[in-house]
């Protein structure tokens, strides 16, 4: 989430959003691999492979961020003081 906020502030709403849903997931996976790798076993026992988890995280990220993206986009258009692209 913090990466999404930074991306929007630095690169504007559209590019910020695209960075968040692509690079954000990569950073998240790398972070999990580095600091919480053993927690994968918690999900393995429920039948989730690593790939399945990454796909699910990407889908959830995408779905959850669309309404947020639209709100930020609407605010930036209405008030005009934030760059859209």
């Amino acid at each position: 989430m913090s990466m999404g906020v930074v991306s929007v502030l630095l690169f504007g709403v559209i590019y910020g959003y695209l960075i968040f849903i692509t690079l954000g997931i990569v950073v998240g996976v790398l972070g999990f691999e580095t600091f919480r790798k053993n927690e994968y076993y918690f999900y393995y026992n429920k039948g989730f492979t690593r790939l399945k988890l990454i796909k699910a995280s990407f889908a959830i990220n995408l779905i959850a961020s669309i309404p947020l993206f639209l709100i930020v986009l609407a605010i930036s258009i209405l008030f005009g003081n934030a760059s859209i692209i």
């Binding site: 053993n38 927690e39 076993y41 918690f42 393995y44 429920k46 039948g47 492979t49």
Partner: protein, 219 residues
């Protein structure tokens, strides 16, 4: 039945496990012994599919199965040696993630030991409490086989006794594989035994064999 015809694993040029084989059926408890670094955890991980084997031939109920399918088909439940529960989650929130049915949840919520710390977060538990929770939680999953990597380590004696009783009760509908340096406890509850010596899996029958294969000293 889970039949491992052969598994080998190389790390670089070093062959850590060499053509190990065994059969595990419902009612079996296979105890695996061996010195540190002999390949016990590697063996478990290669079968579970979380570590790629150099060569593996495995069947489940006489049908060839690939390690990559073990997780998705929920064939083996696995308790690894190191902590794996999400650290910041409360115990009472973890249980419903694994078990949807209230009846199943109650078994854990009213467990004599777990009931004392359901309000705590995982990182607030002692090592023994956490380990006990991990084993009990995973053991109630419906998988036909349960692999336990060091389930007794850091448990207090009462917890060990309780856990042994519990594992014996699971034999009715599961096959278990246990590896632990608490060899006396593993010997006590296992129905068959194997030691990994120089990368080879050797079936054994008694504590004397542990001496023969240099896992224990004579005195």
């Amino acid at each position: 039945m889970l039949q491992l015809y052969s598994v080998s694993k190389f790390f670089g040029k070093r062959e850590v496990i060499k053509h190990i084989s065994f059969a595990l059926d419902t009612g079996d408890i296979l105890g695996i012994y061996g010195r540190n670094g002999c390949g016990k955890s590697t063996l478990l991980k290669t079968i579970h599919g979380t570590l790629a084997a150099s060569d593996i031939n495995l069947t489940y109920n006489k049908i060839k199965v690939y390690p990559k399918d073990i997780i998705t088909n929920k064939i083996i439940a696995y308790v690894p040696q190191h902590p794996f529960l999400p650290k910041n989650t409360k115990v009472r929130d973890l249980i419903p993630i694994y078990f949807a049915e209230e009846k199943e949840q109650d078994i854990l919520f009213y467990d004599e030991i777990i009931k004392n710390f359901t309000a705590k977060r995982v990182h607030e538990l002692s090592i023994g409490q956490r380990k006990y929770l991990e084993v009990i939680l995973v053991s109630y999953l419906p998988h036909p086989f349960l692999f336990l990597d060091e389930p007794f380590s850091m448990l207090e004696p009462l917890q060990i006794e309780r856990l042994k009783k519990h594992l014996l009760s699971l034999k009715k509908h599961k096959g278990l594989l246990i590896t632990d340096h608490y060899y006396a406890d593993v010997l006590e509850i296992s129905t068959k035994h194997m030691i990994i010596h120089d990368g080879i899996g050797i079936p054994i029958t008694s504590k004397d064999d542990l001496v023969t294969y240099q896992y224990l000293s004579k005195f």
